[in-house]
């Protein structure tokens, strides 16, 4: 702003000088004829008595003006030159600091790349764990599919499913850790961006290098904490991996059990035995040596047992005959399901089959066992009883 004003002033001063020149050189150009009257007035004025003081005043003003304009125009340069002379003393240290910061930055960058490397390694590990998990799942699936004794393995399956779900949750935890790593990485990227910004600042404002250094330090500490986080995550993953291995062991033992171990008994087997004992004391009856009792005692004692067990067949294990015809009557069937009909005697190669119905057969129509909330615990079907008086 100042400079612009000074420039205008300078131009005006030169113009004024030119004007004076024109005034004093009336023969300079015919074109000047147009301004003749103004020139005449000027000349008249100059010719007046106060010619000398006015001229002197104008000349003085002009000179001052010129000087001021020139001073202002060249002042800036001078100041800049003046300051430029100082730097060798003031700026001398920064390059060294700068170098130091640069070194540090280099170091940080190195650390960053190391961290990234560790991260990618961890990620690989997590992926590996995941794929192991997947393998495990596949194994499980394969196992459950290949098992031909599905019914017998029902309980095991549920246990395996439980294991599977635990493994899955572990895998989910690993995934979560991975996601956390990714976020860490992005955080670090952000950090490096901050570094870049710091560097730029250093280059641009070398005299602010101290602040930049501070910032660098801050960033470094952030990086350190990030690295700490990373190492703890790595540890977590390691422990997850250990747990996964343990699960694998458990799975193996469960698989072993399934091939004939103690856990191979389905809960319904326990439940049915439990109910027959509870409602009808059937296990007690079958386990008791009845050879010593006379028929009357035996007959009477069986009554409540028969009643209780029968009720169980009415309420919970509902049976119906395979064939509804009277036993002893003649039946004819075109086709038979060998699971439902057993043929005996002189059996023709193909139907229709005609013969006497010996046994109507039974099929389990309904099975209304109470729902077990968390499977069957242990292998007790009738607890020992102690009465405290």
């Amino acid at each position: 702003m100042k400079k612009a004003t000074a420039f205008i002033m300078l131009v005006l001063s030169i113009a004024a000088a030119a004007g004076v020149y024109i005034v004093y050189r009336d023969d300079i150009s015919p074109t000047m004829a147009e301004v003749e009257p103004a020139l005449t007035i000027c000349k008249g004025l100059i010719a007046e008595q106060w010619h000398t003081p006015l001229l002197a005043g104008i000349a003085l003003f002009w000179l001052l003006n010129l000087l001021m304009s020139l001073a202002i125009l060249f002042e800036r340069k001078k100041v800049a030159e003046l300051t430029a002379e100082k730097p060798p003393i003031a700026v001398e240290p920064p390059p060294a600091q700068n170098d130091e910061a640069k070194k540090q930055l280099e170091l940080l960058r190195q650390q960053l790349s190391e961290a990234e490397k560790t991260m990618s390694e961890t990620r690989d590990r997590a992926n590996q764990l995941l794929s192991q998990n997947e393998d495990l799942k596949n194994q499980l699936e394969k196992f459950s599919v290949s098992s031909s004794e599905k019914d017998e393995l029902a309980e095991l399956k549920s246990e395996i499913e439980k294991l599977q779900s635990t493994a899955k949750s572990r895998a989910e935890a690993a995934e979560k850790a991975e996601a956390e790593l990714a976020s860490l990485k992005s955080e670090q990227q952000k950090n490096s961006e901050e570094f870049a910004a710091a560097r730029n600042k250093l280059e641009k404002l070398e005299n602010e290098s101290k602040a930049a250094k501070k910032e660098t330090e801050k960033a470094a500490s952030q990086l350190k904490s990030a690295q700490n986080d990373l190492s703890s995550k790595t540890e977590e993953i390691a422990s997850l991996r250990k747990q996964l291995e343990e699960l694998n062991e458990q799975l193996k033992s469960a698989q072993a059990d399934a091939r004939g171990g103690k856990n191979a008994i389905p809960p319904a087997a326990y439940q049915i035995l439990y109910l027959f004992q509870k409602e009808g004391r059937l296990i007690d009856l079958l386990k008791e040596d009845v050879s010593g009792y006379d028929d009357e005692t035996l007959g009477g004692a069986i009554r409540p047992i028969h009643e209780g067990c029968r009720k169980l067949l009415e309420d919970r294990l509902i049976l119906e005959p395979v064939l509804n015809e009277e036993e002893g009557s003649e039946v004819t069937l075109d086709e038979i399901d060998p699971e439902a009909i057993k043929l005996s005697g002189s059996v023709p190669a193909s139907g229709p089959y005609t013969g006497e119905l010996i046994h109507r057969g039974w099929r389990l129509k309904e099975c209304n066992l109470p729902e077990l909330v968390s499977g069957w615990k242990g292998n007790v079907i009738a607890p020992a009883e102690i009465e405290i008086s």
Partner: protein, 597 residues
């Protein structure tokens, strides 16, 4: 609050709880609504759960059984079927008949006293809490079944014995509130059975009764017996129903019958020098019930063998055998519970006298017919002959057996015959063990204005005890007078000021009013003063009030108050004190804590 979608009826029985429901949208005028049962999920042995149509009203404090239902209460207590089963083994931890304890005026019903007389180290709950536990279990079971249509948002009717007095009704509402069911309506069980009879379509009720008939509802449940009289009248050209009388609370029911028979069998076994343990008596009771049903239903059989198995694993070696004969049934059950008697007979009073240990007030006389005779006799006054009903409606599992129905009809007809009346008509068509729950849901429909309603109102007349002002005489208590504050049959939704009576109450001091009820003084008018209290009056929980300081009145000041009586829409009785000056009203609370002296 979500919009109610269902009408729900809860039969809160002494021994069994049944829940029914119908969508509100299906309730329409004149139709026979489809009322469904809601199976109630319950814990069973061995960590199993099952939905059962009936929930036994039993609570068992857990020993080491692992909870399987993740609901409040269930972590510490087993409720329902398994509770009953475990309770047979460990009776000290079993709470049974909580509903009967709720109307026992000799105990503080809000204090943890159940299981009664159990060892100190066992946890105890109050009868009030026990009732709320059942209702909360029902709420959880409903919410598990219906999801977003929560029970607390539905229109719920809870049944109570007709004999419940005003204080016991209040306690049921309180129990429901504790179970987070803030809006329930109460309905008397015999009325519920009657509604169930109205709702059935097989034998239209209008063809079975006519104007002027009085119907006797006899409800013999598992643990209680309840009588009610319903009059068929006419209003606006259609038949109208009015419940005109209810009986007293009689702790006598079907369970007593099974137990009686078990003791018969037990004494038979002991005669043959066999020792029967308490546990075996439980088993015997089951066996006897089965034997009873066989003998009652198969008239050609004269004897049914009863065998109890040995308790040890030697099931045959340890077994004991006896038999229940037809004569046992006739002698102990029919003649024991339904003996022939005169209409002027009274139930045999407890003759032990003197100090009696507090317990449930089991009826001293098992003869249901004698209790009925007393009830009916008290309903006859000069102008009304309610004591000679024209029709009878049976309810309760006991009456599934024709033999009991026939005997009761025979006895009633002998009374009617002596009085020169027509024999009684039997109303048919209800399902005896679910009728109350179904009727409760139908009452919900009737309340929606889509079915006929029984006008019932207050089941009994209520009186405030007032001491006569007489000069003090040492050693002589001034006689009590009774002020009638609720006339029997006053309808729901009535609010009345008692005229002409002003009481001076001191602020900050507890004032207590003696309170009486009567189920046979149908002629006493509202605000009438009865000078002498005879045996037709019965003590009930007293009323208490403590006036707070208000409007510049401070403790010790005397305030003049009048009385206001409200019969609420949900079926409770509320009495208020009204300040004579100013616009203040305070509710008198029932004193359910202190025993009635």
């Amino acid at each position: 609050m979500a919009k109610p979608k269902y009408l729900v009826g809860i039969d809160l029985g002494t021994t069994n709880i049944v829940v029914t429901h119908t969508p509100i949208s299906s309730a329409s005028e004149g139709a026979h609504p489809e009322i469904s049962l809601m199976p109630i999920v319950q814990e069973l042995a061995k960590g199993a759960i099952e939905k059962l149509e009936v929930m036994p009203s039993f609570i068992f404090e857990r020993l080491k059984e692992k909870p399987v239902l993740e609901w409040d209460d269930e972590s510490k207590f087993i409720i329902g079927d398994y509770a009953r089963e475990r309770g047979a083994d460990v009776p000290d931890r079993l709470i049974s008949s909580a509903k009967s304890w709720l109307c026992n005026t000799r105990i503080d019903r809000t204090q943890p006293v159940l299981p009664w007389n159990s060892p100190e180290e066992n946890s105890k709950v109050s009868p009030l809490t026990a009732m709320s536990m059942f209702l909360r279990h029902v709420r959880h079971a409903w919410n598990a079944e219906f999801g977003k249509d929560k029970l607390e948002d539905q229109k719920v009717v809870v049944t109570i014995p007709a004999s419940f007095d005003a204080a016991a009704r209040d306690l049921i509402v309180e129990a429901a509130r504790m179970a987070e069911l803030p809006d329930v309506t109460l309905l008397e069980e015999p009325q519920a059975a009657f509604y169930s009879w109205i709702s059935q379509g097989d034998k239209p009720w209008r063809q079975q009764v006519k104007k002027g008939d009085v119907v006797l509802v006899v409800d013999v449940g598992g643990g209680t017996t309840d009588f009610s009289l319903i009059e068929i009248s006419e209003a606006e050209g259609d038949l109208a129903l009015e419940r005109v009388a209810v009986g007293n609370h009689i702790l006598l029911g079907g369970d007593n019958m099974d137990l009686t028979l078990a003791y018969v069998a037990r004494s038979k076994l002991e005669e043959s020098k066999k020792k029967v343990t308490q546990w075996q008596t439980v088993q015997l009771s089951h066996q006897c019930r089965k034997a009873k049903e066989i003998l009652l239903n198969e008239t050609d059989k004269d004897s049914v063998p009863v065998v109890i198995s040995g308790r040890g694993s030697s099931v045959i070696g340890g077994s004991m055998k006896t038999s229940i004969d037809r004569s046992d049934i006739e002698k102990t059950l029919i003649d024991g519970f339904f003996p022939f008697c005169d209409m002027n007979d009274d139930p045999v009073e407890d003759t032990e006298g003197g100090v009696r240990e507090i317990s449930l007030m089991y009826a001293a006389d098992a003869a249901i017919t004698r209790h009925l005779a007393k009830f009916l006799r008290n309903q006859n006054s000069n102008d009304k002959q309610y004591g000679f009903p024209q029709a009878i409606l049976f309810n309760g599992g006991v009456f599934r057996s024709e033999i009991f129905r026939n005997r009761l009809i025979e006895v009633i007809n002998s009374w009617l015959n002596n009085a020169g009346k027509e024999p009684i008509k039997v109303l048919e068509g209800i399902e005896l063990s679910q009728a109350v729950a179904r009727g409760a849901t139908y009452y919900g429909i009737a309340r929606e204005g889509k079915g006929i309603r029984i006008r019932g109102g207050v089941s009994q007349a209520y009186y405030l005890g007032i001491e006569s002002s007489l000069p003090a005489v040492p050693g002589f208590k001034p006689p009590l007078k009774a002020l009638c504050v609720a006339k029997q049959g006053t309808e729901e939704g009535t609010i009345k000021d008692v005229p002409g009576r002003t009481f001076g109450l001191v602020i900050g001091k507890t004032a207590e009013f003696k309170f009486f009820k009567s189920n046979c003084r149908r002629d006493d008018e509202f605000a009438q003063m009865i000078d002498e209290l005879d045996e037709t009056f019965e003590d009930t929980s007293s009323l208490m009030i403590e006036l707070p300081a208000y409007e510049g009145m401070k403790a010790g000041d005397l305030v003049d108050v009048g009385l206001q009586v409200a019969i609420t829409e949900i079926g409770t009785l509320e009495i208020y004190c009204l300040a004579k000056s100013g616009n203040h009203r305070w509710k008198l609370e029932f004193n359910v804590r202190d025993a009635i002296k």
